[in-house]
Point group: C2
């Protein structure tokens, strides 16, 4: 591997143009991107990675803008990755103009990057983690990763974050149903945004009941806060067996439910406080280290799979085997399964396995 | 490959127990599942596969129950695949009890299967397509595939369906925003459910504007229907370049917007009519054949990748290389990229490529 040293040096010198170029390289999986990532690897690990997810229309972009402003006021720099579900056909992002962060955009301490959710050979979560690595190496203190929707990709992207915030609004309807869609497993913090609207209290109560049903019983004390009209409640949940003991040694984390009205800049301080508390919780018990080690192992597996896939679809040997298989299937001579078994046998066989 | 003939024979004999067992085999990727799928392959291809997707809380389950009832009245059998986003930690589906289709459940002409969305080695879309294959081979006339949420997985699952229905409700908020989340690219039919609620007309109009903005200009005539209060409008859209000419030769399909009130059993006949029209459209221009051929090629690629992954994670040779790589990364001796390159070099090298 020949390292593209200029980019790495320019990143270390915090040149914005290098940042944008490095992210493009990584997002597109262009030649040299893995060499770049290998070179950046020693610089990665200081940023806090925060996933912000939830159904569309929840005001996540506004919330992120306000949270970024709060961080900037505190002297922290912020990278934002906004993931746009894009067309499966054109591969183009429809939402290039989605995020309107005028106030943030003129500040060099904030960098916003919109990503298409399609076309990444190694899976969206891997690519997102790699773009976050670039921002991390560049020196951003916080990386906010916004995902739209409630689906598998959101669950996957949570796996590359330190903390996941699930944002709901009264209008998103039945909170319990949203909770059922797998979000409850990944939420470290809940936000009820647009909390000044009707139904916010009901949603918050639904969430707390759902958290309680999930196994929580040790209700923590409600902390003092500035906005008495914006209630903050905390409820404990049991760790799932596979997670227990890895993210802190002082008992399970109690996902708080934070009420915000991002457009009115209300509740953002509380959200920031909850994020700091979760970070402290992770660091206290050695949970952050364990989580990062898991993420690193997963990244390695993902990169191996991606490299193997790239080999499969580009190298002359396997490609020829695959073309034969596809032709056989199209002609009805073999099922996809028999054809695939043939390809793998050929690769295994010549591998001596 | 030794075919598990008894299951295939039992499926042909339409024994429900064999159906359930075959689906479990396929869903879990158990030993023998690919042999089973290879054996079923000649029986696959007569069912119509209909994807039903949209944000949570849209009443998709009720809509599916009513649509299934309409099909049953017409003498058609129906398989339902409901995909539950499950816990990324436990791998268990939280929503085992989600679907309540009491009326349908006592009818042997309807089979409902809830699937976890996690843990499938080959990706959710592939597994879903394979479960649909089992139902298809068993002889169901219609296969309804329900996905929750608005995310990448929904876009992927659309790729294994003949027709995709996107279900929205007035409560789901900003229809345009939902549209932006990639759904517009996959929708063959829009449903505005709970159309008796306030905001339904506005949502329908938003959708029609969005469809128009997307490139449509040839507005079709509104067909006659039984419920004058439930408006049905049709709007044409331009085909995306990659899709043009493959799904019918008589001009682009005009995705209709159907208003339903599933709980009141209103608009379901219209939805069924739109589904029939789309199926006729696909068959008329040879588009169905082209679409199925694309799906078959994609399945073959997916199965090859899955088989290769299975080999990678289970065979002694690659596994040893991978363990070394993981240990190196964990100890900080190499970045994931250098370690992965080492694994692939080893596999490529011994392959002579």
């Amino acid at each position: 591997m020949v390292a593209p040293t200029p980019i790495i040096e320019d990143l270390k010198a915090r040149k914005p143009a290098a940042l944008a170029r490095a992210i493009s390289l990584v997002e597109n999986g262009s030649p040299g991107s893995e060499t770049l990532l290998a070179g950046l690897h020693p610089l990665v690990g200081t940023a806090r990675r925060i996933g912000i997810t939830g159904p569309p229309g929840g005001g996540k972009s506004t919330l992120i803008e306000r949270l970024a402003s709060h961080y900037r006021t505190a002297g922290l720099t912020v990278g934002v990755i906004a993931i746009d579900p894009s067309s499966p056909f054109t591969g183009g992002a429809l939402l290039g103009d989605r995020i309107r962060m005028e106030r943030a955009a003129v500040d060099p301490g904030v960098f916003i990057r919109s990503m298409a959710s399609r076309g990444s050979l190694g899976g969206m979560a891997t690519t997102t983690g790699e773009v976050a690595d670039v921002m991390d190496a560049y020196g951003f203190d916080r990386i906010l990763i916004e995902t739209v929707g409630v689906g598998q990709s959101e669950l996957d992207i949570a796996s590359v974050c330190d903390t996941t915030v699930v944002v709901l609004v009264p209008e998103s309807g039945d909170g319990i149903q949203v909770m059922k869609a797998g979000l409850m497993e990944i939420a470290d913090i809940y936000v009820v945004n647009k909390a000044d609207r009707p139904g916010a209290d009901r949603l918050r109560q639904e969430l707390e009941v759902a958290i309680g049903l999930k196994g929580g019983h040790a209700f923590r004390h409600v902390p003092a806060h500035h906005h008495p009209e914006l209630q903050t409640a905390k409820t404990a949940r049991e760790k799932t067996p596979s997670d227990a003991g890895t993210d802190g040694s002082d008992g399970p984390w109690a996902p708080p439910v934070i009420a915000t009205a991002a457009l009115r800049d209300e509740g953002i301080g509380e959200l920031r406080g909850a994020l700091d508390q979760h970070a402290a919780y992770l660091e206290r018990g050695g949970g952050l280290q364990a989580r990062r080690a898991r993420q690193l192992a997963q990244r390695t597996r993902d990169v191996v799979e991606r490299a193997l896939r790239r080999w499969l679809w580009s190298d002359a040997g396997p490609r020829a085997a695959l073309e034969t298989a596809l032709a056989d299937v199209a002609a009805g001579r073999r099922s996809p399964y028999e054809a695939a078994a043939g390809v793998v046998e050929r690769l295994r066989g010549s591998n001596g396995a």
